[in-house]
């Protein structure tokens, strides 16, 4: 009787194993826990906060995963998912999302005052020489879609996410490897300038097929620990 049950058990188990095991041993399968927040294939989140990770430079994504794992960035869900994972595995996940080339959602600047948009554009493209503030494009690329290997794009992420990141840098909640250039820059920005620059960045359309520059623009206006 017991032997019969065992055989029956085996018959039930074998098809299940052969059906799933092989074709699910992939990086896509391993990346599934990222999708509830970052959206299908890392495109964008369901509630507009979580940033798009598809197509961002792989080294940037890896730096962030390591920062979350090691406590330089703080977001409990990300700290929890990245902890106890080796660099090589985090790099594999970063490569996967970096290689996703997906169209960006359309955006609208409706509701953002003209003056705010104008000031934001100036800050993003030219900076503010009176306070020694470099333009975003000086590091994040002329098209603001980042620069390889490790500078992220600034378009295609929500305004609330951009606001939160600048605020986190100002208050010391977000860190990058020293010298932490974005901390310096965020502390120079006034609340009105943050509103302007994120208001403009979050409402810029991204042309199809556009991506990060091949290298970081030179010379760099500030020293950065995590630019390459």
């Amino acid at each position: 009787m017991i032997a019969m049950r065992k055989i029956l058990g085996l018959c039930l188990l074998v098809p299940a194993f052969s059906l799933h095991a092989a074709d699910l041993d992939t990086v896509e399968q391993r990346a599934l826990p990222c999708l509830p927040c970052h959206g299908k294939e890392g495109r964008a989140g369901p509630d507009g906060y979580y940033p798009r990770i598809a197509g961002k430079p792989a080294k940037y994504l890896l730096n962030q995963l390591v920062n979350f794992r090691d406590g330089r960035r703080y977001f409990p869900m990300m700290n929890y998912l990245a902890e106890r994972q080796p660099d090589a595995y985090l790099a594999e996940l970063a490569e996967y999302f970096s290689s996703q080339q997906l169209p960006y959602d359309s955006v609208s600047s409706e509701g953002v005052p003209e003056a705010t948009l104008a000031r934001g554009k100036v800050l993003a493209k030219d900076g503010d020489k009176s306070t020694d503030l470099p333009a975003c494009s000086a590091c994040h690329g002329d098209n603001l879609l980042g620069a390889l290997p490790a500078v992220p794009g600034l378009l295609g992420v929500s305004r609330s996410y951009l606001d939160a990141q600048l605020a986190a840098w100002r208050t010391g909640l977000r860190h990058a490897k020293a010298p932490d250039c974005m901390a310096t820059i965020a502390k120079k920005l006034t609340p009105a300038d943050i509103e302007a620059v994120t208001g403009w960045l979050a409402t810029q359309a991204v042309p199809e097929g556009a991506g990060p520059q091949k290298s970081v623009p030179s010379p760099q206006p500030v020293e950065c620990g995590s630019i390459s």
Partner: protein, 425 residues
């Protein structure tokens, strides 16, 4: 709360004098059952191995902070504890005797009584020679100047002197004594499990005053927002029926898909990652032999659910089935059978366990198994709190716990909401 305070007062009156009179005395240094591993023959490597198996670094390191420099917060029902700095900055002035007093007797230099969040109730089993080896290894950890943080405890637990009473009631010091009924390997396993590995600190129930009291109550422990299942109960984490190979694989890799299936998550994933995967296989085998020999106990009876009409169950099951089809079946299989990439839910111990907090937290927050040397690319469970409501999560858990031969009580949305507190781990 009132009950706890009254308890304290009564205990105070009855026991304070008695505790002082019968203060346990021992000058026994003890002999540790030797490791079968030759790698531990010199004291420094033995000290390092014991410090690793005790996962001292795990509690004594803040996230991203310097190793052993302390500052990690441990949330408990009594308040929040902050682990102290045990680099040479923190304990550089200690002697080997001081270290022994902390491990074996539970007090720091100057007679300062230690809270049992530092598991000296287990460490008292460690032999003097092994304690000295651990101390010698910690001497090599360079000083990192990080100041200790005061614990933030509620009254009356912030009254450190009350620990004298607590100790009188719940702490018996004494090194491990070999059981001649068993062989050297079993004794080595028992010495490690009861002592430096301090498994019971999580895997056994604590009473209202935070003392491990599992003899009257064979149950796992609710700690750090998770339920650490009982190692005695076959339907929880008992491994009496497992092969030694499967047990050792689970402890080293964090995941096993052998004759038995097992996954580690939450605090246990940390123990595997930081500690067990680096432990000598000979010692893990000894641990497996000992764990297999634990006397089996029955799971605690489950209280029936109040507030759920029997007629509601089919409706909840229906909703749950739909949620399962849409969110779970792709990985866990149409009938919870799964494969190597995801645990089977049919006959799963975590799924059927009571309290059900672990299953609830897995659905809420997901998580990866630890990325160990033997399993460096673990699969993970997605968090569902961003996309499913408490009602949906309760119904899918009720469906899973009532399907394919699983026969565990339903989960209510309130249970799911109760699982949303506490730190992720």
């Amino acid at each position: 709360m009132k009950l706890r305070i009254t308890l304290w007062v009564v205990l105070l009156c009855l026991v304070a004098a008695g505790a002082l009179l019968f203060w346990p005395r021992d000058h026994e240094a003890g002999t540790a059952p030797a490791s079968a591993s030759t790698a531990q023959s010199n004291p420094m490597s033995r000290g390092r191995a014991l410090v690793t198996l005790g996962n001292c670094e795990g509690c004594h390191t803040a996230r991203g902070g310097p190793p052993f420099a302390g500052g990690r917060s441990i949330a408990t029902g009594f308040g929040t504890f902050f682990s102290p700095n045990i680099t040479q900055y923190g304990i550089g002035s200690w002697s080997a005797e001081d270290f022994w007093n902390a491990l074996h007797k539970g007090y720091a230099p100057g007679g300062k009584l230690l809270y049992p969040t530092f598991p000296y109730t287990n460490f008292t089993k460690i032999s003097r020679a092994d304690a000295d080896a651990m101390f010698a290894y910690l001497k090599t950890v360079p000083a990192v100047p990080v100041a200790n943080r005061e614990h933030r405890l509620k009254f009356p637990y912030n009254q450190r002197w009350l620990l004298a009473v607590w100790r009188g009631l719940f702490f018996t010091r004494g090194v491990y004594e070999a059981d001649v009924q068993h062989d050297a390997q079993w004794n080595r396993g028992a010495y490690l499990v009861q002592g430096v590995a301090h498994c019971s600190a999580c895997h056994e129930a604590r009473n209202a005053l935070g003392a491990v009291r599992s003899k009257d109550n064979p149950s796992g422990g609710l700690v750090l927002s998770w339920y650490a299942p009982s190692l005695s109960v076959a339907t929880e984490a008992g491994v009496q029926a497992w092969s030694e190979t499967d047990i050792v694989q689970l402890l080293r890799a964090g995941v096993v898909n052998g004759e038995h299936q097992g996954y580690t998550f939450g605090p246990m994933a940390e123990v595997v990652f930081e500690s067990l995967q680096h432990t000598d296989v000979a010692d893990l085998q000894a641990i497996a032999v000992y764990l297999k020999s634990l006397p089996p106990a029955e799971a605690r009876p489950v209280a029936s659910r109040v507030g759920l009409a029997p007629s509601a169950i089919p409706i909840i099951m229906n909703t749950g089935q739909q949620v399962y089809k849409d969110n779970c079946a792709r990985c866990h299989g149409d009938n919870g059978e799964a494969g190597t990439h995801a645990p089977a839910l049919k006959n799963s111990r975590m799924v059927n366990m009571n309290p059900a907090i672990d299953g609830i937290r897995m659905v809420l927050y997901g998580g990866y198994a630890p990325g160990t040397e033997l399993n460096p690319r673990p699969f993970g469970m997605p968090p569902f709190y961003p996309t499913l409501s408490a009602e949906q999560i309760a119904s899918v858990l009720t469906y899973i716990r009532g399907s394919w031969g699983n026969a565990s009580p339903p989960i209510l949305p309130d249970d799911v909401e109760a699982g949303m507190t506490g730190p992720l781990w």
